[in-house]
Amino acid sequence: MKQTGKLFAFLLLATLSVSLSVHGDPYNYLSPNEINERLKSLKTASGVSATTHLLAKTAGERELLLLEISGGNPEGSAILVVANMEGNYPLASEAAVRLSELLANDWQEMLNNHKWYIVPVGNPDGYARFFSSPSSINYTNNRSVNSDMDDAFDEDGPEDLNKDGFITIIRQPHPEGKWIEVESNPMLMKKADAAKGETGKYRIFPEGIDNDGDGKINEDGPGGVNPGHNFPHDFQHYTSTDGLFAASENEARGILEFCFEHTEIAMVITFGRVNSLKEVPKSGRKAEADQSKYKVPERWAKRIGLDPEKEYPIKDLLALARDYTGYKELTEDQLLQWLGVGAAVNPAKGDLSYWEEISEKYNEFIKEAGLDGKRLDPQGFSSGSIEEWSYYQYGVPTFAMDFWTLPEPEKEEKKEEQAGITLDSLENMTNDQFIELGEERIDEFLKANDAPSMYTATMVISALKGGMMDTKKMAKFMRKNKKKDDAGGADEEDEALFAYQPDAFIAWQSYNHPTLGKVEIGGQKPYAQLLPASDEVDSLLSKQLSFVKELAERLPSLSISRTVVEAVSSDVYRLDVWVANNGFLPYPTHQGKRSQRPAPPALTLDENNLTILEGCARKPLGLIDGSGGVEKVTWLLQGVAGSKIKLSLQSLSAGTDELTITLTEGETSR
């Protein structure tokens, strides 16, 4: 039986490899160079201009291009779309090319207020590897890195030993092996779980030989650094592929430089494996900066008479510090900096409510598009990613779209319903409701859903009460754990991929390896789990790309909304001016306020023919919430009744406005 399965898979593969590209996928994705050519010669409707900018040359001598598309308002704010920053996700680049074509020809209304900057391939070197043969999952750029710190660079990469066009996995029967076949599907492998009485059988290696004779296989292949992890928020040092330091790579640096030169960028949208819309980015990461109470460094605490062990609310500390230094303008930010408080790592609370609303809209949109089938979880924001940087440091609203992940395989509903609770109903319960079920029913429920044995009712209840856990997190964890169990321990992705596309796996074939001896080669094809079936690509993209419009329409938009002139004395007037944000999103974001980006908008009063008795001619504004949020500016003016007053509003990326009013008692509303 096993044999025939193998044979069948082999035959299938043989026929496929004749007719299909190296990836076993007939969809003809454009290579980085082809994309660049396509964008350079992009045809546009009249009134639309499209130009390309070279942001960087990669180590592999490839061009990292940005396409600028503008129409009615070339001076307006801009939306930056960056696709395929990690270079491993063809669908993302394809989406960016399509978006470019749509904006240039069909979506001219999207150019009335904004212009668009589109980077179709953030990591051209890495993405070029997708098109190389044999196919190998490596999407680093071409920077030469001595991964194994020996006396040679890039000297031990993979080899396609069995000449099937794919770099897959070698498994070697070995007493030290930790891997076994999945019982229900011997094409798949899993780690043996000694606690379940399983004994490891195979050692596994990537397909290749030990070129440099150091006992390791493929430990120093070509490349490189993943520029998608090379951005400066929460950058991780001492990893194998994130780079020596943040912005060390031309790709990341080129994009960063462009963004800081183009302060009109009001929003960043990424296309890649991350989705920030299906679920809003997670909160609850640990960091000093997200607490509201702070310790004072010992040497200062002593001087001021505080307890260095105690935590004080920031408001109290601010009052104290202002008093102590005599510097009344000291801001909370300055104090936080002085206290040595680090960077934010959780989305600002004020922003999350906006994100949640957009997420809700997105999920409705996906449902209407008929794409709401259960699928594997997309990636979240990762350390050093462009998404983290653009939100936490650049301070603009940032959304990530992934378009697709493997569908979750259909499963039989098992004993779940016992105890009268399902994982779904758990999710909708409050902590207290769940605790009220009582220990007995909770234990029953845990058992029915294959919770790990350490999860007893007592433990769960105390965790819920102590705030270490909530019903939502618990449901998520149990679901994940259950998935694993349902798949007989197989990797969730392996299992989903097998269900979706069985020929994504190459049957194990025996091979005589020069150093490992008798082995088998097979397993998952590179990139297979990142490729939707080619006949789905069109509809996936055409259905989802229009959500980009929804996002663009939510940008903040400032205007002078109302003025009131009140006579105070002869020739003395009080002028109140309201600036309103008629867009949906706040300006800046709450995180932007903290990270001090973008620069604040300002309302300026033309001083001609006037004397300002109170107030400054130019007044920088603070954060203005969306949906009609306002900030009021007040001046006390001396001037001749009836003279004209010119007001102007400037902002980097939320529009500008002008209004001339007359110095007489009255009100204007717009």
Partner: protein, 575 residues
């Protein structure tokens, strides 16, 4: 008597002139070198010693000035990158000017003493020195040409919105009285918090509770250029080049002056590229002012703990430094001073595994006016870091009053009748000129002492033993007699470089096994399974690394030691 000394002086001058013509270049340290003078000096040094120096521009600053870098290396004894490298720079903060003089003096002293002082000759022949006399070429240039004060000019010339009003650099200081300096402003105010000191009216002291005030301090000289009710709150810059480096860099809202992203400045980028091209650098000095400090990292908690082996290296050199520089203190930046993110020395150590010190040149305590044996009573009130009265006495009687500009009345366009005065630009953080020669020499001596401690590895055969069956055991020792290891423990634990490589080769030998000897006397070895002929390790400070091979065959063989930060060696043996 006077005449005689004049004649003597003329003769001396003539001798000097002839010595110049005989190609002995003399750099003097009786003045500070302004921007152009530094460029001239490095070119003169290179011209005078073309065989020992190379001079290059690493690129241009924000304002288009060249960043000059000078290498001292004797090519007759090998390429620079084959020797341990010592990197020295100065004035990454443009107002910390005397750091440049230390660099210039070091270069001149090494070159001038070469051939005449065997200690220096040996050092220059066995090390590479990389010197960048001015990192912040723009601001240090402006320090000499523009009206300023000793605190102005730290920044790189990248505009920044310091006061968060959406405008860049719109309200800097102004030399309103046109005296070429930015001094302090004060205004008569009976409700002010300050009064004149009863012993010296130039000094202001804080009033006690209930006491009548006399003055309100108004900060540095300037006007409210942008009409926001504040003076000088958004001056030129602000990229702090010493917060713009790549290790655990933090954005400006966490670390002020950090810049947009790591190495976003043109200069930091150019200098970092240069450093990355010289992996042989094993130690660096970055000179600053002031405080009289020898500072090592970590600069912040984010950098974590330094490995104890490396702390030992730092401590050894730091404590010697405290003796070479009496009064200077060896401290840990983030612990004994304040937290810094993205600073140069953290990048060098934590990211690249290169040891280094920040030298904070000069301390105001050196401006003494008191008996040496016992401490004079200290003034209670401090002004600019020195008991103000003593500083004035020092100025009056040791420096003949060159340091202070007395308070003068001035009609300020906004504030009305005020007074302007204070310590002059070339003071406070900067030593009086008569103290400069000793400062540059002692600090250059710390660099020289440290360079002498760069890893020097000797390779020796321990023994060759016949162990039967045609097998021979070969044991080799690499010994480093200096305080700096061939690789820092940081470099080793973080896999920053290839480790030192011991290799045995020979036409007719087969290497059966190889490994690092963990205990020579007990004959314990950690064997290496694959490629046993090549062993990767490092040689610690004041210590050894011993390796062994078991080989089959006879005849001659070569054992080679190749290191990134130490000289490569070869040893021929007969089996």
């Amino acid at each position: 008597m006077k005449k005689l000394s004049l004649i003597f002086a003329i003769i001396l001058l003539c001798m000097l002139a002839t010595s110049v013509s005989s190609e002995k270049l003399r750099l003097t340290f009786d003045h500070f070198y302004d921007g152009q003078a530094v460029i001239d000096a490095v070119h003169d040094l290179h011209k005078a010693y073309p065989n020992l120096t190379t001079l290059q521009s690493l690129g241009q600053s924000e304002e288009g000035r060249d960043i000059w870098q000078l290498t001292i290396n004797n090519p007759k004894t090998g390429k620079d990158t084959e020797k341990p490298g010592i990197y020295v720079d100065g004035s990454i903060h443009g107002n910390e000017i005397q750091a440049t003089e230390v660099c210039l003096y070091l270069v001149w002293y090494l070159l001038d003493s070469y051939d005449s002082n065997p200690v220096i000759t040996k050092l220059v022949d066995s090390r590479a020195f990389y010197i960048i006399p001015i990192v912040n070429v723009d601001s240090r240039w402006h320090f000499f040409t523009d009206a300023g004060d000793y605190n102005i000019g730290r920044t790189g010339m990248v505009p920044y919105d310091d006061d968060r009003d959406g405008l860049l650099d719109e309200d800097g200081p102004d030399d309103i009285d046109g005296d070429g300096q930015i001094l302090r402003m004060r205004i008569k105010d009976p409700y002010g918090n300050w009064k004149s000191h009863p012993d010296d009216a130039r000094v202001m002291v804080r009033v006690k509770d209930g006491e009548q005030g006399q003055w309100t301090r108004l900060g540095s000289e300037g006007i409210d250029n942008d009409g926001d009710g504040q003076i000088n709150e958004d001056g030129p810059g602000y990229l702090d080049m010493n917060r713009n480096w790549g290790f655990k860099w933090q954005p400006p809202y966490v670390q002020s002056g950090a810049g947009d992203f790591p190495m976003s400045g043109k200069v930091t980028r150019a200098v970092s590229s240069f450093i990355l091209s010289k992996p042989n650098i094993c130690f660096n000095f970055a000179f600053h002012n002031s405080g009289g400090l020898i500072v090592r990292g970590p600069g912040s908690k984010l950098a974590g703990m330094y490995p104890p082996q490396d702390v030992k290296v730092y401590d050894y050199l730091g404590h010697e430094g405290e003796k070479i520089l009496p009064g200077y203190e060896y401290i840990i930046g983030g612990q004994d001073m304040y937290t810094t993110h993205g600073d140069f020395d953290e990048w060098m150590y934590s990211n690249l595994g290169i040891f280094g010190f920040v030298g904070e040149l000069f301390m105001s305590e050196q401006e003494r006016y008191r008996l040496l044996k016992k401490n004079a009573d200290k003034d209670e009130e401090w002004f600019d870091g020195t008991p103000a009265i003593e500083k004035h006495k020092f100025d009056d009687n040791v420096n003949q009053g060159q340091m202070f500009s007395d308070w003068k009345e001035f009609d300020h366009p906004v504030l009305g009748k005020i007074e302007i005065g204070g310590w002059n630009t070339f003071t406070t953080r900067i030593p009086p000129l008569f103290m400069l020669p000793e400062m540059v020499h002692r600090n250059a001596s710390l660099v020289i002492f440290t360079a002498q401690q760069a890893p020097e590895v000797n390779l020796e055969l321990i023994d060759i033993t016949d162990i039967g069956n045609g097998l021979k055991r070969v044991r080799v020792r690499a010994h480093n007699g200096n305080a700096i290891p061939s690789l820092s423990a940081q470099a080793v634990r973080r896999d920053i470089y290839r480790k030192d490589m011991f290799e045995i080769t020979g036409g007719s030998i087969e290497v059966v096994s190889g490994g690092i000897i963990s205990d020579l006397h007990m004959d314990r070895v950690s064997p290496k399974r694959n490629r046993p002929e090549v062993i990767f390790s490092s040689v610690p400070a004041f210590g050894t690394c011993e390796v062994q091979w078991i080989v089959k065959g006879s005849g001659s063989a070569t054992i080679s030691y190749s290191a990134i930060k130490a000289k490569n060696l070869k040893l021929s043996i007969k089996l």
